[in-house]
Amino acid sequence: MKLDIGGEEIFEVGIETLWRALNDPAVLVKCIPGCKEMIPQGDDRFKLILNLKVASVGGSFEGEISLSDKQPPGQCKVAVSVSGTLGQGSGAATFSLEQQPSGTLMRYSGEGEIGGLVAGVGQRILKGVAKHLIGLFFKSLRRETAAPVPQ
């Protein structure tokens, strides 16, 4: 089934900081829910290993994430595809960053497709789960980009 993904988030950091974080595999590994490993494959492509658990349902997934059409520090396209025992998912989204007085505004929009077991069985909750996972990503990203608390 297809899912529309889109929204905006405001980050209390400068656009350069946010851009660097979004392009740093070490940061992304900590932000992508369930991400165990991102193995560089060159050209902004990474092999992705996930162990995802939502409520009582969990499974391991493998896939790829790639960044393209980069226009630093304002815009980038992300494409993800993963598959595992519970099914498979793929999606592509464009995000753009805009410096604002209070921080950096991120707008994102794209489309995802979920198939396999999760799509057939979890259809009712998939949208909620997707929103939850995206929320987790941004929460982690905020934590990772926040200035270290002075000692």
Binding site: M1, K2, G59, S60, S83, G84, T85, G87, Q88, E113, G115, G116, L117, A119, G120, V121, Q123
Partner: protein, 798 residues
């Protein structure tokens, strides 16, 4: 209902096998415990169409307790493709996908482990690399030249496209003053037994024997296993004494059986596969028809339907199997109970990237009945005729029987007008209309649905030869053996499994009737396939006719032998001997008699007292040919299909909440005539269950897919079954028009209720919608669709 002169037949006796079922003592396939049995879990394709690029089994095989991972390439090399009905060699069907997987959920690999849980865990470790392929889901799109091909080597998605013309269709259309056309869709539903399919296979290399225990309902099961595994069928022993927890057609796990049969031979231990719910619903290959009808009728101003053109387009899913034949069975009742003189029928089946179909209750008759009955209602509507009146005008009359329909089947008997009269005597039609109008006055949408449908029964599968001229089968046997043992107890046999139809009761009742002995005294057993007489298995609503018939004839053979023995011992001619409740006496001197024990003593121990040239012992058998069967179709595609036709007349009042679109069945009446009823409890159970099943097909049940080819209804949260909230109390009005072709006048009732309920409900909903100027001809008519449709119509009106 009870026929005069019967001692046990038609009496309201208990169903003997129900005792073990209600106390939870059935013996199902999951209860079969063979030592050292290993378990199978399946790895399925997540895409509707994909090329299998590679399968990496190493991580799974490294797990302790995991014995094997079987892929489609190995299995395809070692076995033959599964049997199909049509000549479609380039559409091979195999237990595991080979090179290409063709629906989401298709099995790609099987993992064998010490436990099912372990096998499931190991299946997660098997890595399959797929290349996604284009797919097609819709039957009409599958017909288009630009459509992706489900089976490239076949060259098109069309498995079957055959047009029959019976009678002067063009002339009748040209001559008729009125015409009408209608499109009717039957959604993909099925029967979904609570017990999923399961099978245990155990190969013994020292005996050259594959023992099979399965939850099966399938003709030629052991033949098919033998052919696919390249074994003589004499090396396949199917155990029929396994209870089957529900089926109504779909328990045809041949692919499961070939898979575990192969694994057991390959690995040397018993292998068991019990589907879980998900495997059953998306990969068990047990979906039912998904059919699109285009109907055209020509009729006159009095509403007499002169001719009909029917195109049926079936979406069979990814593989052929036997399901395209479900377009053929309705040919035996293609005009329903009506005197339509000419018919053109175009039967089309296409493959798509959906789950493969199997036979479902009625074998395509229920959808066809919806198409016919919706059309008759539309004819009534354009002429302003009452739906019962138009049916009365078109129906075959009692005095017209036997009546030959354009497609060549001669209906055995019927009294449709009387059945309707009886129902209307039970429930006043005028009162029902007043009740409907009162509901309408309260702001509800309310409608009365009428359907008059036939249940062809007795199952001579002549549609095979009609749709595939290479098939020349003109019989569909069933058999019974009766043995009286050396101390006088009676054991009868049947030679197939049952899934709750009460066949043991059937055999006991019929033999008891003939021998005038308490049916409870007659043991009924199920020998395995190697000790069995031929059985066509319980399909085509045939067991009362065929197994009941075989039991009747066998019992009469036994009776004749007992009479001969008794007469000989009494020193009288057999014609002078009378058989009565197990005893034989001299008509002229009733005190001269031989008791049951005497007759047994002579047969088993006193050969010197036996008539000359008679075999000792008391064992007889009968293999029965289908009544009216034995002929191939003629050049114009006319053939006698099934021997008997049962009749059902549905009258339903439905109320719909206009805000929610939720239908509620207020009253349900059905008139039912299946000839002589052998066991009233069984027939009532069949009819009630059939109506519940029909309510599901009409309003709730659908194997719905999303646009990406993913099955959205894989469990009972999404595949909605009617519960006691949705199934109303049903009042059944019986009538008995005996069949001249059967031993007791019985006809089939294994599909009763289901064959007319969807049509009746669709007609009731449409009657309710009529004041809004809308109609709906796509089943299932789901609450959400109905609600939107009503809201849009109301907005338009305002």
């Amino acid at each position: 209902m009870s026929e005069p002169g019967h001692r046990y037949v038609s009496t309201d006796r208990r169903v003997r096998e129900d005792r073990r079922f209600v106390v939870g003592k059935g013996r199902y396939v999951a209860d079969i415990g063979l030592p050292n049995t290993k378990h199978v879990a399946l790895l399925t394709c997540p895409y509707p169409a994909a090329r299998i690029k590679s399968i990496d089994k190493s991580a799974a095989l490294a797990m302790p307790g995991v014995h094997y991972v079987l892929d489609g390439a190995e299995l395809a090399a070692a076995t033959l493709p599964l049997m199909t009905g049509l000549e479609t060699p380039n559409v091979p069907r195999r237990p595991l996908a080979h090179e290409v997987a063709r629906y989401a959920g298709e099995w790609v690999a099987a993992v064998v482990a010490d436990s099912r849980a372990l096998a499931e865990d190991a299946a997660e470790k098997v890595k399959v690399v797929y290349e996604k392929l284009p797919f097609v889901l819709d039957a009409e799109q599958a017909l288009e030249k630009s459509s992706p091909l489900v089976h490239e080597a076949h060259g098109s998605n069309v498995l079957l496209d055959k047009t029959f013309t019976w009678g002067e269709v063009d002339r009748d259309f040209a001559a008729a003053p009125r015409k009408l056309s209608l499109r009717v869709k039957w959604g993909r539903s099925s029967t979904v037994p609570i017990e999923t399919f399961g099978v245990v296979a155990s190969w013994d290399p020292w005996r050259d024997m594959l023992d099979v225990y399965a939850s099966i309902q399938m003709p030629r099961y052991s033949d098919q296993i033998g052919i696919a595994l390249k074994l003589p069928a004499s090396s396949v022993r199917v155990h029929y004494d396994v209870d089957v927890g529900g089926s109504y057609g779909v328990k045809r796990g041949i692919k499961h059986t070939v898979l575990v049969g192969y694994l057991s031979r390959r690995l040397g231990f018993p292998v068991r596969l019990i589907e879980d719910r998900l495997e059953n619903m998306r990969g068990g290959d047990a979906h039912g028809p998904e059919r699109l009808f285009d109907v055209e009728v020509a009729f006159d101003d009095q509403g007499i339907v002169k001719s009909m053109k029917l195109r049926a387009l079936e979406n069979v899913g990814a593989y052929a199997g036997r399901s395209p034949f479900q377009l053929g069975k309705p040919i035996g009742a293609i005009v329903g109970p009506y005197k339509i003189k000419s018919v053109q029928y175009r039967a089309m089946a296409v493959v798509t990237n959906k789950t493969t179909q199997e036979a479902v209750r009625g074998f395509g008759q229920a959808p066809t009945n919806v198409a016919i009955e919706r059309t008759v209602d539309e004819v009534a509507e354009v002429l302003g005729l009452d739906p019962i009146e138009i049916r009365r005008r078109n129906m075959i009359r009692h005095e017209d029987f036997p009546y030959t329909i354009p497609s060549g089947t001669t209906y055995d008997s019927g009294d449709y007008h009387t059945v309707i009269d009886k129902v209307l005597k039970h429930t006043s039609y005028e009162d029902l209309k007043r009740e409907r109008d009162a509901l309408r006055a309260q702001g509800k949408l309310a409608g009365i649905g009428i359907a008059a449908c036939l249940e062809p029964s007795g199952g001579n599968a002549m549609f095979e030869a009609l749709l595939n001229p290479k098939i020349t089968t003109t019989t569909f046997m069933d058999s019974c053996r009766i043995t009286v043992d050396g101390i006088g107890s009676i054991t009868a046999t049947m030679h197939t499994t049952s899934s709750g139809q009460g066949h043991e009761t059937l055999v006991g009742t019929v033999i008891g009737e003939v021998l005038q002995l308490d049916p409870e005294l007659i043991r009924v057993t199920r020998p395995d396939s190697l000790n069995s007489l031929p059985s066509g298995t319980p399909v085509g609503s045939r067991m009362a006719i065929m197994l009941g018939g075989a039991a009747f004839h066998a019992a009469n053979k036994l009776k004749a032998k007992l009479i001969a023995i008794g007469a000989h011992d009494l020193g009288i001619a057999p014609e002078r001997a009378v058989y009565e409740r197990g005893e034989v006496y001299d008509r002229n001197a009733p005190e001269k008699r031989r008791a049951w024990a005497d007759l047994v003593q002579i047969a088993y121990r006193n050969f010197h007292r036996m008539p000359a040239d008679m075999e000792p012992g008391l064992s007889v058998s009968h293999v029965m040919q289908v009544p009216t069967g034995g002929k191939l179709p003629d050049a114009s595609g006319r053939v006698q299909m099934y021997p008997c036709t049962s009749f059902e007349f549905h009258m339903i009042l439905i109320s719909i909440d206009p805000a929610l679109g939720r239908p509620q069945i207020v009253k349900y009446r059905v008139g039912h005539d299946c000839g002589t009823v052998i066991n009233p409890k069984i027939v009532r159970g069949m009819t009630m269950g059939g109506i519940a099943h029909g309510i599901g097909a009409a309003l709730y049940e659908e194997f719905a897919y999303d646009g990406e080819g993913q099955l959205m209804a894989q469990n009972f949260m999404d595949y909605l079954l009617p519960s006691s909230h949705e199934v109303p109390a049903v009042e059944i009005v019986h009538h008995c028009t005996p069949s001249p072709h059967t031993v007791l006048g019985q006809k089939g009732s294994g599909e009763s209720g289901y064959l007319g309920a969807p049509a009746g409900i669709a007609n009731a909903i449409n009657d309710a919608l009529r004041p809004l100027g809308i109609s709906i001809n796509t089943l299932p008519i789901k609450v959400a669709v109905l609600g939107d449709l009503i809201a849009a119509a109301q907005e338009k009106k305002e």
